[in-house]
């Protein structure tokens, strides 16, 4: 037999039906809602709790989304209002020159290859409608000028792709015009909300936070029990019963952390870390069962909702008569505080300009919001030698640091976390330059996307971050990925399980607490995870 007589390999598989590549131009290609890549709709009960429009039962994969009859008018009116209200939005609609600098900067595009996940095209989804309805040239030329009508397929496409943007702002770092696609997404979601298109992973935390104070909707007595158990755990590890001041009127400082830190592992170890550090320095502070959530999923809903949820923290600060607010290792809380709080609920002039009672340092950067990030607070303690530390207790941990998007890009907190990590752990290795600091890659689970129905999309979007972690794992033997955000601690854990199973995830204050020598403590044989510290034997009488 000769070679040419054999069937060709491609002939053998020609009957297999593959998904075809898009053949039509992107604007005419309707969305194919494939399970694993979209988010489930918000439940009616959650919309009702916060008085949002069109609460009903609907399903993404069904044809009829039960929209109000006049949905187009509602959205176009909302569009017009926002163009008038937000100058930045109008600018972002007008000034993109389609230079492509942002095209390959989004982790969802880099990990999946869907062109509509290029930031420029994501914004184009809405910009095309803007051109059609709000510019003269678009009104006259329509399609030819890159405009298109707001039809049902277009609306569905918005829903798919605006809930495929984690609002991380990586793309904005590379845009020569400073166009922030995350803000375009935010407006896109606001418009979708007007006709009742929202996702449950955003609206349930919003409703719970609004009604009860935290994302899981746990009432005060449940919280207190939960916190007390962690106090017990610390006692088991260190022999010390740490302070746990709750709703204490007249305390100097109110401390607010994301609820993920006390409901979830591995955030819980960070929570225990806060308790240990704040006890050791003897800080006069208080927890609150009302302002029990640093996270603000209003940020993923609407500007109005950001304001409503953020206001609770300040109302509680006022009620408890504290001087200022300290905030935990949360991610997007800091974006809200740094970029929105002052103009939304500020000025917080009933509070004082934050001063560390331990070191006397004035946090001038927090003059307006009166809220200080714990990384700033703790790195200041360390600089002033206020913590007695034994970093060798972290010798079994080889760390790298993921700059969580919001503390990094929205607040610029690059050095403080690194200062702390270097002091409490001898083995710290940076990931490659293009994946850290302001260029950090997102965990792909922020902005409400960190749910289980969206798992495939998360794994795609998580690939760039995971790939850089694998690099330091292979080159430097890294076994712990640190981060400064509760969503990260949850979603990066899952991401590592898929992409780099030998790397665990945790927060910074967990390592601080491991290293912290507390007055009167017993011999430490386990770390804050309760895992044995290698090379340290328990004393015989303890066994």
């Amino acid at each position: 037999m000769e070679l040419h007589e054999l069937p060709k390999p491609e002939d053998l598989v020609k009957d297999v039906k593959y998904r075809k590549l898009p053949e039509k131009p992107w604007m005419q290609e309707p969305v194919d809602f494939k399970p694993g890549t979209y988010n489930y709709p918000a439940l009616a009960k959650n919309l009702k709790k916060v008085h949002m429009p069109n609460p009903r039962e609907w399903h993404v994969d069904q044809q009829d989304w039960h929209l109000p009859d006049d949905w187009q008018e509602i959205i176009l009116k909302g569009f017009k209002d926002r163009l008038e209200k937000y100058r930045s939005f109008r600018l972002f609609m007008d000034i993109c020159v389609r230079c492509g600098a942002c095209a390959d900067k989004c982790h969802f595009f880099l990990g999946g290859g869907d062109p509509k996940n290029m930031p420029v095209l994501r914004a184009e989804l809405i910009r095309s409608v803007y051109r059609n309805d709000f510019t003269t040239v678009g009104r006259l030329l329509g399609n030819l000028a890159g405009g298109r009508k707001l039809t049902l397929p277009v609306l569905k496409e918005w829903f798919y792709y605006f809930f495929q943007c984690s609002e991380c702002r990586r793309c904005s770092v590379f845009c020569p015009y400073g166009i922030d696609t995350a803000e375009v997404t935010m407006i896109g979601r606001e418009l979708l909300n007007l006709v009742g298109l929202n996702i449950n992973w955003v609206m349930e935390p919003v409703a719970n936070c609004f009604m009860t104070g935290n994302h899981l909707g746990i009432p005060p007595h449940g919280l207190v029990e939960n916190w007390e158990f962690m106090q017990d755990d610390i006692e088991e590890i260190t022999g010390i019963k740490v302070n746990l001041p709750i709703n204490k009127k007249g305390a100097e400082i109110l401390f607010v952390v994301p609820s993920g830190d006390y409901f979830a592992d591995p955030g819980s170890y960070t929570f225990m870390g806060y308790l240990a550090v704040l006890h050791e320095i003897g800080l006069d502070y208080t927890w609150s069962t009302y302002a029990s959530e640093g996270g603000n999923f209003g940020l993923f809903t609407s500007h109005e909702m950001i304001k409503r949820l953020n206001a609770k923290i300040y109302a509680e600060a006022k009620r408890l008569k504290v001087k200022w607010i300290l905030g935990g290792e949360c991610g997007h809380m800091w974006r809200v505080i740094h970029q929105y709080m002052d103009t939304m609920n500020g000025p917080a002039d009933f509070l004082e300009e934050p001063v560390s009672p331990i070191t006397g340092t004035k946090f001038e950067n927090a003059k307006g919001t009166k809220m200080v990030h714990i990384a700033e607070f703790t790195s200041d303690l360390i600089r002033h030698g206020k913590l007695n530390l034994d970093p060798s207790r972290n010798d079994h941990i080889r760390v790298t640091y993921h700059d969580s998007c919001n503390p990094a890009r929205a607040v610029g907190l690059f050095e403080e976390p690194r200062d702390i990590i270097r002091t409490v752990c001898k083995n710290f290795y940076e990931m490659p330059e293009d994946s850290i600091r302001e260029k950090t890659y997102c965990c792909a689970g922020g902005a409400g996307l960190g749910n289980d129905e969206n798992m495939e999309m998360r794994m795609r979007g998580g690939l760039p971050r995971a790939n850089a972690v694998r690099y330091v794992r292979d080159q430097r033997g890294v076994n712990r990925l640190l981060c400064m955000c509760a969503i990260d601690r949850a979603t990066l854990s899952t991401m590592m399980e898929y992409w780099a199973p030998d790397v665990s995830v945790g927060g910074i204050h967990e390592l601080v607490a491991n290293a912290l020598i507390m007055k009167g403590e017993k011999k430490r044989t386990v770390d804050f995870r309760g895992e044995p510290i290698p090379g340290v034997e328990p004393d015989e009488e303890e066994e």
């Binding site: 590549l21 746990i218 009432p219 979830a264 790939n467 899952t494």
Partner: protein
């Protein structure tokens, strides 16, 4: 001349063409980004696939047994990515068969005697077996995706469940249901 020698001489070309054919399975707009191998950190899909095909090809040419941990690892690197992308199962592992096309295109013209042709058929049946292993890897990745959901849920409420159990065991205060509003 043996097939082994022909393949070894053309290893680089074969790896390149194999890589390009895999990238060809992605949307056109993405291809040019995935083909750019200048920086593995900013192009994880392209660079991982490229490393994977080079590694797997090297193993095949060395005549390693198909079950060798190394070759499976190279396949795993590629399939782990494709298993969560917009591909059907068939499309996700089809790239293994692409190697046959590439080999025939690259060295087919120089096959001059039936001895080498026989060698080619043997080599191709090794590729077929590799494809079967690829299905195994694909299935493992998909199973992992389902496991991720369960494990994530467990972690996300770990502390709540723990305190509920402790309260329950102690017989004091409230029941686990009290800890959750709804």
């Amino acid at each position: 001349m043996t097939l082994e020698k022909m393949l070894a001489d053309n290893k680089k070309t074969i790896a390149e063409k194999w890589f390009q054919s895999i990238v060809g399975s992605y949307p056109q707009e993405a291809q040019r980004f995935f083909l750019n191998l200048a920086n593995p950190i900013t192009n994880p899909v392209g660079s991982t696939i490229n490393r994977g095909v080079e590694g797997a090809l090297e193993c095949l040419l060395k005549g390693e047994t198909l079950e060798s941990a190394e070759i499976i690892q190279w396949l795993d690197d590629i399939i782990r990515i494709r298993a969560v992308q917009d591909f059907t199962a068939a499309r996700a592992v089809e790239f293994v068969f692409d190697l046959k096309k590439v080999v025939r295109k690259t060295v087919g013209g120089s096959i001059s005697n039936s001895g080498i042709l026989e060698e080619l058929l043997t080599f191709e049946s090794r590729i077929d077996s590799l494809a079967l292993l690829a299905f195994n890897v694909y299935m493992q990745c998909r199973e992992k995706v389902y496991e991720l959901k369960t494990n994530e849920l467990k972690r996300s409420t770990a502390r709540l469940v723990r305190s509920a159990c402790r309260v329950w065991e102690s017989g004091e205060r409230c029941s686990p249901e009290d800890l959750k509003l709804e």
